[in-house]
Amino acid sequence: MKTIMNRMKQWGAVAAALLGLIAFSASTSQALTAEVSPREVEITMSYHGAKLTISGQSAASDDLVLKISTEPRDTAMKRYGKAAGLVWMKNGTLEFKGVPGVYLLNTTADLQRILDDASLAEYRLGYEALGKAVSIEDLKGEPVDHDKWFDQFIRLKEKEAIYGIKEGTITRQHGENGNTFKIVVDWPYQAQPGTYKVELLAVNSGKVVDTAATSFEVKRVGTAAALSKMALEQSLLYGIMAVIVAVVAGFAVGAIFKKGGGAH
């Protein structure tokens, strides 16, 4: 319930309208819940991504949409263009305003089929809806072909596995424990340390009828954390250490090879 209330605050005006619907769905079936496990993803030296299990309960008649994302932020990217009409070069900078750092969607069915356009836009579900909420500016003030560059942006992010839409991936069970759902998400190692929000939407007749939210954190621990801290806070020492290790390693191996008779 606490998580539901948090969600409410974020959507201000929408909240009032939703309250009625939540009360409705809660009274007719069961409350929507979402839990993510683990709550903390630890980046150790051998980290190569993680498995996130998100599970909970929902009404049997509702479809589900699960969104993992960050708060929208502004990102500057270099763009390629033809320089002097001849060669391809990075010759401009585009600022993408209001894009999430990660955008992973999982659903029980096709988004277009279960939600109407207004709802897709309101909750920024699907790349088309997300694209409409994002503005792209050229730093030199040149006009921007929004659709072309947003498409390029999505392709880059999908290549890095930090954006993705997977429809029909949430599995559900109807049994003694009520109506439950579960999904295992492959969390990409490319996603940076930080806090990620998990939003679960219950959908019925084209509309969002209930929401639940939770979050999890990705952070560096142990050596990985200590090293990145040192690189930032004691950067000079860090640089000197890196050089000393390199020189010593180089000389040591040189000496070993000499002993081994590699040189005459």
């Binding site: 500057a76 391809w88 990075k90 392709r155 950067s235 020189v247 590699g262 040189a263």
Partner: protein
């Protein structure tokens, strides 16, 4: 199999990275170049952000060149006097080059100019070395002794010998004004800073053709100069930009220090002209790759900022 890089913020297969280090280290030991012009794009291909690829590569080159330099020193192939003069010139030139690039950037259109200079420079140096060493190899087959004798004596007389500070460079077997390597060092430093590379592939031909040093001393002295340049670059990058990933450097250098040894041992078995023609072919291959990148439309038209 995988290791997470806490600065680059990505995970890599460590066998691949050690393998890259080994391959590029081998080139260092063979030719006396840092190999940054090969390593940085390779690192970007495995998902390392461009700024971190370039800075961490400098750290790796410190290890490879220390390893190669150590062995070449024992073989008597390092002209320290020459190396120090070239390095000092290179530092000064690097500082000038950074300023020039700031002015060019402010004026606009600089990147196009830089890219073109890079391609022409690589292509020019590569072609010249290729044809020169090809001709030398042909001649060599007929009269190996005559070639060795002809290459050794430095040009006497003229403007260069009238300069002050005439110094005998024992290891290289040449007498030259100390001003000449200093000025050439500045020249290479400026170019390297503008192109965003270490400059080994320009320094080596400069030593061969302008200073007329013997090929094996060129390799040892090249490594000496690269070692000091990359120590400076690593510390500066770590301190000012926080772009050195120590774990990545460690993986690379595990490969490169051994690669440099293998390269040095292999180099002993090869004739100077054979080394030159091999280096020329690599430089030309890199040129072709860059030209193709410039001409063909990239599959993705967006990229993260940084790199060259």
């Amino acid at each position: 199999m995988y290791m997470y890089l806490p600065i680059a913020l990505t995970s890599v297969n460590y066998l691949v990275v050690v393998g890259l280090g080994l391959a590029v280290g081998l080139l260092s030991g063979l030719f006396g170049v840092g190999g940054g012009f090969l390593m940085t794009p390779l690192l970007m291909m495995i998902g390392i952000p461009p700024t971190i690829a370039a800075a961490t590569d400098a750290n790796q080159i410190v290890a490879a060149s220390a390893s190669g330099c150590f062995s070449h020193w024992r073989l008597g192939n390092v002209d320290a006097k020459m190396g120090i003069l070239l390095t000092l010139g290179g530092f000064a030139g690097g500082a000038v080059g950074v300023q020039i690039i700031k002015i060019l950037r402010a004026a606009g259109g600089a990147d196009f100019l830089i890219k073109m200079t890079y391609v022409l420079m690589l292509g020019g140096v590569g072609s010249f070395m290729f044809f020169e060493s090809l001709a030398a190899l042909k001649k060599n087959k007929q009269a190996p002794a005559a070639k060795a004798a002809a290459a050794a004596p430095a040009k006497k007389g003229g403007f260069l010998s009238s300069l002050p500070l005439q110094t005998h460079f024992e290891k290289s077997g040449i007498t030259q004004s100390a001003i000449v390597p200093l000025v050439l060092g500045v020249f290479v430093g400026v170019l390297a800073a503008i192109m965003g590379v270490g400059g080994g592939f320009i320094m080596v031909p400069v030593m061969i053709y302008l200073l007329r040093m013997p090929m094996h001393v060129v390799v040892g002295t090249g490594l000496f100069q690269v070692l000091f340049t990359c120590i400076e670059v690593t510390i500066l990058q770590a301190h000012q930009n926080h772009t050195v990933d120590f774990f990545l450097a460690l993986l690379l250098l595990i490969g490169s220090v051994f690669g440099a040894q293998i390269g040095t041992a292999l180099g002993k078995k090869l004739h100077g002209d054979q080394l030159k023609i091999l280096l020329a072919m690599i430089v030309l291959a890199v040129t072709v790759k860059i030209v193709l990148e410039l001409v063909l439309e990239p599959s993705l038209l967006l990229a993260y900022a940084g790199g060259h």
